[in-house]
Symmetry: C2
Subunit: 376 residues, 2 copies
């Protein structure tokens, strides 16, 4: 229930604009529908029950998580179809099994014969059949097997012969964050799709069922021209968007649903510095693409103040300056001590993680509180 | 009570080596004694009751905080002498006053006539006499008034005539983090001391009592040759130390009390990559001085593995490589899936803030849990 107003909020606070959130959720869901695939949002950005409930209400089919704590928290909220998208290791299998035995359809991923052997050995010892996807490397940026790797059918064989259930293949094209321009993003989305489908084709040719083909990142989900052969799209940061997404052309400033509310606490007039109480503890140390400092500055109502950024940060201090670095003696008069501002984040996943709750700005101007969680 | 062993801990976990912690606490306390000043530790690094209790037991006189939440939490634990070392703004004064009326000797800081006028106006309206220190700029890196600023006695006059209690002057020489070599650090420590003492001298010459002169940062506290005219030293990160402090020559590797326990989850053999489950969510995005990636790698027992670092990180993935970037096909065999490692952090304040508890390694090999808190 709305219980306070923007003016009552302490600073720093993480502000979430619910109208923008809902618009972002609807847009990605519409995109998945148009592409003919299910959407499985990655909840690592938001870690917030009400956000995920809105994604499911909009049509999402299950969720993706980055930690077992997320799986446990969202299963407790009634979400049963969960993909844990970080390579599984044996020490985490007891917790996975416990969740599954309570009714959670938790799928794990892996990308090596060693990990597959460890999983099937654990399953045999503990009388459990795990659901597993094989991670495919479609961009060279992190984990996964190449679509043509000889190990790919070998991993599938280890899983199937060892009694695990091979759900399919999945990939995350994180290299999309380094693309420049629409043409590169379109090409990267097609690369992600084509290579993941190729992996599924290779497995099927080797005699394995591979029902699911799961791809995605917010940039590739936004720029994919078609997703032939894919069954499922994953994306996370789209719910909030941020300056990195804006820099890629994935969103515009007006789509960014998360900001940090802050107060001016002082000045260094000679230098044109405005000190605020949002330092790196509030913004995170994430510098994004390196072109927006620690974030861009808006007034308290959310209207951008062009040419201002948080150009430096200590733990609980941010230094707002002109983005050209020029000293501006008028800033102190424009933004006196006590002025409240909003700062748009470089990377919503990192900034949101600095908070344990969101102050949610409703369409009626009321402010609600939605909890989020962190940790493992 | 120790209730588990290192082998039982989930990953990622924040490990705290209690023997190193106690040694670091004792060393800084001995330093303050030798310099003839009180030590007021900054608790923003650790935000942990048992750590602060150890600092007070070792002889610390009060604490420094970076948020009102820290003040409230540590006052609830019985710490009454607290300096809130971020410029105060009127919206935070009701919470300050409430703490003070409950018996907390909470001192605030400010550095402008505007802020002083707002504080005394609030005090008059609400019938409260605040304890205030004036922040001095001794290094140009952030907030504070220059020691010879005409505004300095004017702020003092505003406070005293307005009914506030002028406790003294304080400074934080954060520019010490950018020093290179002992000579620069010694000179920076002397600059911090001399300029803060000069500010106190200027106030006394203008007729104001200025009983307290508070200086400090871990580097300047470590390299100060003497602290004549200073009454109090502040430092925070010394309790844990980190790679930034090591890079400055403030500590050695063996002093770093905080590390992140992580598990190998996969490899990209061709590239010499070892994937671990400590990404930037565990390490933070803080790259320190830029020479250690996201952290240096030790074995599970804490012995450094020379030449290895976390060279890249995603939210829940770290990529361990040789620090020369060369591909090394032997790494996958040396560090198979399931291997547990410790990663030393660039910046302990930032890494610790990614966790809600420490797994505390006792001298007996047992593991205890100490809670910490985050947020505002």
């Amino acid at each position: 229930m709305p219980c306070m107003s923007l003016a009552d909020l302490p600073t720093p606070s993480a502000l979430l604009d619910v109208a923008r959130l809902d618009r972002n959720i609807a847009a990605m869901q519409a995109r998945a529908r148009a592409l003919g695939v299910r959407l499985r949002p990655h909840v690592k950005t938001t870690k917030c029950g009400p956000v995920v409930q809105r994604q499911l209400a909009a049509g999402a089919a299950g969720i993706t998580v980055s930690t077992l704590k997320e799986a446990e928290a969202f299963f407790a909220l009634g979400v049963a179809d969960i993909l844990y998208a970080v390579g599984i290791v044996p020490t985490k299998l007891p917790a996975v099994q416990a969740l599954r035995e309570r009714g959670c359809r938790l799928t794990v991923i892996l990308d090596s014969i060693d990990a597959a052997e460890a999983l099937v050995a654990h399953g045999r010892t503990h009388g459990h059949r795990f659901d597993v996807m094989i991670e495919i490397d479609t961009d060279g940026h992190r984990a996964g097997l190449a679509p043509d790797a000889p190990a790919l059918p070998a991993v599938a064989r280890t899983l199937v012969e060892g009694g695990a259930h091979l759900v399919g293949v999945m990939t995350h094209c994180g290299a999309s964050y380094a693309c420049r321009g629409t043409a590169e993003l379109v090409a990267m989305a097609e690369q992600e799709r084509a290579r993941c489908v190729a992996a599924a084709t290779a497995l099927r040719a080797a005699g394995f069922a591979c029902p699911e083909v799961s791809v995605g990142s917010t940039p590739t989900a936004t720029f994919a021209q078609h997703l032939e052969g894919v069954t499922e799209l994953r994306a996370g940061v789209y719910a909030f968007h941020d300056l990195v997404m804006r820099g890629l052309g994935v969103c515009i400033t007006d789509d960014i649903a998360l900001s940090v509310l802050t107060t001016v606490i002082g000045h260094q007039r000679d230098k044109g510095w405005v000190l605020v109480d949002a330092g790196w503890m509030a913004m995170s140390r994430d510098l994004g693409a390196g072109d927006c400092g620690y974030g861009l500055v808006c007034d308290e109502a959310g209207t951008p103040l062009p040419g201002l950024r948080v150009s430096a940060a200590n733990q609980e201090h941010g230094i707002v300056t002109r983005d050209d670095g020029a000293s501006d003696a008028t800033l102190a008069a424009q933004l006196p001590v006590g002025t409240r501002l909003r700062v748009l984040p470089n990377h919503a996943c990192a900034t949101a993680a600095q908070f344990d709750r969101y102050a949610v700005l409703g369409r009626d101007g009321g402010v609600d509180t939605w909890g989020r969680f962190n940790g493992w």
